[in-house]
């Protein structure tokens, strides 16, 4: 029998059971040690020094980066340790913009919390930091370097969990800061607005953009019919802010509170999720039978969609053309509600309550506006709605639940589980089963696709068919499956991608949480909601049926495409200048030629193209007549290498074709 090994923490014997560090052992035993830079799901960085403990014979060490050893004698709160922690917090405060009263994060700020707990009543060091401008450039997030304490949590989140690496340390010493490439704003780099960096940031240095005042403006305008719609995951995260157990379903209470705030009707984005299931499953079955592009990727996560547009343009044909439930809701509501309320289309305003920061970006995509009128006018995160409700003085705990409005407030359990990783696949499988076998499912739960692993595979037998499904969450896992698909080694038919760990329940717009337990309990909450509903398959939603009868016709019809589907575009990752390769910029009469050297074109030989063209021009003494530039993206990466000869874009460009075009243009210029 294996003998258990023990160490002593604060006089208690505690078993070592495979923990990676002393901190984890202590936390297991319920002994709290303060930390800034330690997160169980990220690598150990060991920079903040807050987790200092005293180990007999070693003195003060960082518990997060010290392996537990049998017989160790650890003290977590000696006089000296307390003093050192206090100094660490004071130093951080000295370099921190302490505008706590107006800071969005003040109720969940770890720095403020620790300063209180450690009894920091004044900062003994001279405040010293270089003021940096606010990065407010994008629709989803706000970055304020003046509040950054350089813990590096966001850096590791974006790098390790999302696999992107938008943020990193720059400079050094007292000039260190955490910024996107070249100190640019998030809008001008490859950020996909998932907001996970904001979720993990212990201070207010990265926060979701706040649009509460915009929502109030709509509500205050009597000309508008302002309606609200709430996403599945919101209902199981909301109660946390009011002291309810994690995962409590508070749909009815949120509905009542929204009505009290003045929304004329309250609907459910889950209705649109039901529509998504029908459209997306139908699209999938068509691709299978008609030999379309496979595997099919889901497209309901806008952060994932932006990621694919930037990093995998060649896989865009694999993305389902279905809009996200939010965008489907917007289109359907704008189609149906003007008649219902008897007002013009632009007087109906939709406020969408989401667990997500990327949805703020999505709502601003030009595809989802008509004549400058946005389908979804304002996107509020769960947190923002909580703020609004508290600000309006509504006693959420006491409020009596109310029912949602029809028709857009009716849903099935299949739509509800969209909020958790695996839910979209499960909902689609329920639909496909009925469609392919003509039978009702005896047990609607596809346990095979459930779970919390970041990369899961399942093979589901439906009648004579086998459907191979891969479910991923966190984009580092999306990267993995995308590479496999590109290499032709994926062995899969349907791929579900959610950018946030755990799916939407773990979204950055939800009440701030750390660790994985919270999001798992929220997920369990959604499965409970599904179980308690009468209907579990989207096609059984009577109002979905009605929508097809009255408006949409059949799934994937022309009208359905107009309202419920969309298209994608390759996107440039870094906004920057082109590099002048040869010839000078000023001379107007020169023929401008731009060749893309972005990743995708680079791999497809654009560098050689560039070289061959410059050589050719030199040999023929034409270098003075052509200005060649290298650019980082023509945003047509799937058809690279691309070149632009004075406005003519050439895709899959060979040197011969490029030479011919350049010569032709030079000749016609001479002729003129």
């Amino acid at each position: 029998m294996d003998e258990k090994k023990y160490l002593t923490i604060d006089g208690r014997q505690i078993a070592i059971e495979g923990e990676r560090n002393v901190l984890e052992v202590a936390r297991k035993a319920g002994i709290e040690i303060p930390t800034f830079c330690y997160h169980s799901d990220l690598s150990v960085y060991g920079a903040c020094r807050l987790c200092l403990v005293d180990i007999a014979g070693r003195g003060g060490v960082a518990s997060c980066s010290t392996a537990p050893e049998p017989g160790m004698v650890v003290k977590t709160s000696t006089k000296q340790i307390r003093a050192m922690r206090k100094i660490a917090v004071e130093l951080l405060l000295a370099a921190h913009d302490q505008s706590c009263t107006t800071c969005y994060k003040s109720t969940s700020c770890k720095l403020l919390d620790l300063a209180n707990k450690l009894g920091v009543t004044k900062v003994r060091f001279k405040p010293g930091f270089e003021r940096m401008p606010l990065d407010n450039s994008n629709p989803s997030l706000q970055r304020d370097n003046n509040k950054c304490i350089l813990c590096g949590d966001c850096v590791r989140m974006c790098q390790e969990v999302q696999g992107i690496g938008v943020l990193d340390f720059a400079g050094r010493g007292s000039h260190s800061r955490v910024v996107p490439a070249f100190g640019k704003d998030l809008k001008n780099v490859e950020c996909i607005y998932c907001g996970q960096c904001a979720r993990i940031c212990p201070t207010g240095a990265i926060i979701p953009k706040n649009e509460v005042s915009k929502a109030w403006e709509l509500l205050d305008n009597p000309e508008y019919k302002t309606v609200a719609t709430i996403a599945p995951a919101v209902r199981v995260g909301f109660g946390e802010a009011f002291g309810m157990p994690v995962g409590t379903d508070v749909t009815g209470k949120i509905t009542a509170a929204l009505k009290q705030l003045g929304f004329v009707a309250v609907f459910d984005t889950t209705f649109a999720a039901d529509l998504t299931v029908v459209e997306e499953a139908e699209e999938f079955l068509r691709r299978v039978t008609a030999g379309g592009t496979l595997p099919q990727f889901t497209s309901c996560c806008p952060a994932w969609v932006k990621y694919a547009e930037q990093f995998y343009p060649e896989l865009l044909p694999n993305l389902s053309s279905c809009r996200s439930p939010q965008a489907m809701f917007g289109a359907m509501a704008k189609e149906m509600l003007p008649k219902l309320f008897d007002v013009p289309r632009e007087k109906v305003k939709i406020v969408s309550i989401m667990p997500c920061t990327a949805k703020k970006f999505e709502a601003q995509r030009p595809e989802f506006s008509r004549d400058g009128d946005r389908e979804t006018e304002v996107v509020l995160t769960t947190q923002e709605l909580i703020q609004m409700i508290k600000g309006a003085g509504i006693d959420f705990n006491a409020i009596e639940p109310e029912a949602m409005d029809l028709p857009l407030g009716f849903k099935t359990g299949a739509g509800v589980i969209f909020g958790v990783t695996g839910g979209v696949s499960e909902a689609a499988l329920r639909y496909a089963y009925k469609k392919l076998t003509g039978k009702n499912l005896a047990n609607v739960e596809f346990k095979e696709v459930r779970g919390d692993d970041g990369y899961r595979r399942a093979e589901i037998t439906i009648g004579d068919n086998k459907v191979r499904v891969v479910v991923v969450h966190s984009l580092s896992n999306a990267h993995k499956i995308c590479e496999e698909v590109k290499a032709g080694k994926a062995d899969v038919d349907l791929i579900e991608v959610m950018a946030c760990p755990g799916g939407c329940v773990g979204g950055a717009g939800q009440p701030v949480y750390v660790g994985m337990e919270t999001r798992k309990q929220r997920a369990a909450g959604l499965y409970r909601v599904d179980r308690n509903m009468q209907l579990h398959s989207s096609e059984d939603n009577p109002y979905v049926k009605e929508a097809y009868q009255n408006i949409l016709g059949t799934p994937n019809s022309h009208k359905a495409h107009e309202l419920l589907h969309t298209h994608y575009q390759s996107r440039k990752r870094i906004q920057d200048e082109d590099v002048l390769v040869s010839g000078s910029d000023e001379a107007q009469e020169k023929l401008p030629v731009t060749i893309c050297v972005g990743t995708s074109c680079f791999k497809r030989g654009s560098q050689q193209l560039l070289q061959e063209l410059t050589d050719f021009l030199k040999e023929n003494n034409l270098q003075d007549q052509v200005a060649i530039k290298a650019t980082f993206c023509h945003e047509r990466c799937d058809r690279g290498p691309t070149a632009n000869v004075d406005g003519t874009i050439m895709e899959k460009c060979s040197f011969e074709a490029l030479r011919a075009e350049v010569v032709k243009r030079l000749r016609s210029a001479v002729a003129k």
Partner: protein
């Protein structure tokens, strides 16, 4: 300064440098060193190209480029004036020197180089020439016990030579 980038051989150079180091992300630092040698600074577009070809996030490359003080992301002037601001020089009035030179060149705020890129003025923590304090290095030549007047005269000499 567009000229710096404007020949095909220069662009070819970065590709050549990348190839020389096998496009290996672990060799980022020597790659950046070679790039800086070639272009005299690290232009943003070239750094993006380096990141793209090494499959590294541009933020990482930027981070490395800003961590080491011998890398520079802004083009440097033709003449480089370095003032020592080590303890000895500081005590002997290096601040007044710096002010005088910057004023003569019309440098304000955080500006380190003149717009025509003829001059770059930097401070360094110690030149190891404390016996000569306050010391100024102009284009690698050390001048000791410099007064503000003498410093301005040295700068003017260069300005006249360039005119």
């Amino acid at each position: 300064m567009e000229k710096e980038l404007s020949s095909a051989t220069q662009f070819g150079k970065v590709c050549e440098i990348l190839d020389r180091y096998d496009r290996d992300p672990a060799k980022l630092i020597p790659i950046l060193q070679a790039v800086q040698e070639e272009y005299r600074y690290l232009p943003e577009e070239i750094l993006t190209l380096v990141a793209t070809s090494l499959n590294l996030p541009p933020a990482k490359v930027y981070g490395v480029a800003t961590f080491y003080s011998h890398f520079t992301l802004t083009p440097k002037g033709k003449h480089i004036i370095r003032l020592c601001d080590g303890t000895a020089c500081h005590v002997k009035g290096s601040t007044a020197l710096l002010d005088a030179i910057r004023k003569r060149l019309g440098l304000t705020g955080k500006q380190q180089s003149t717009p025509d890129l003829l001059f770059t003025v930097e401070t360094v923590s110690c030149l190891g020439a404390c016996g000569l304090a306050p010391a100024v290095v102009i284009d690698d030549k050390v001048h000791g016990q410099v007064t503000p007047e003498k410093a301005v005269a040295l700068v003017e000499e260069l300005i006249n030579a360039e005119a």
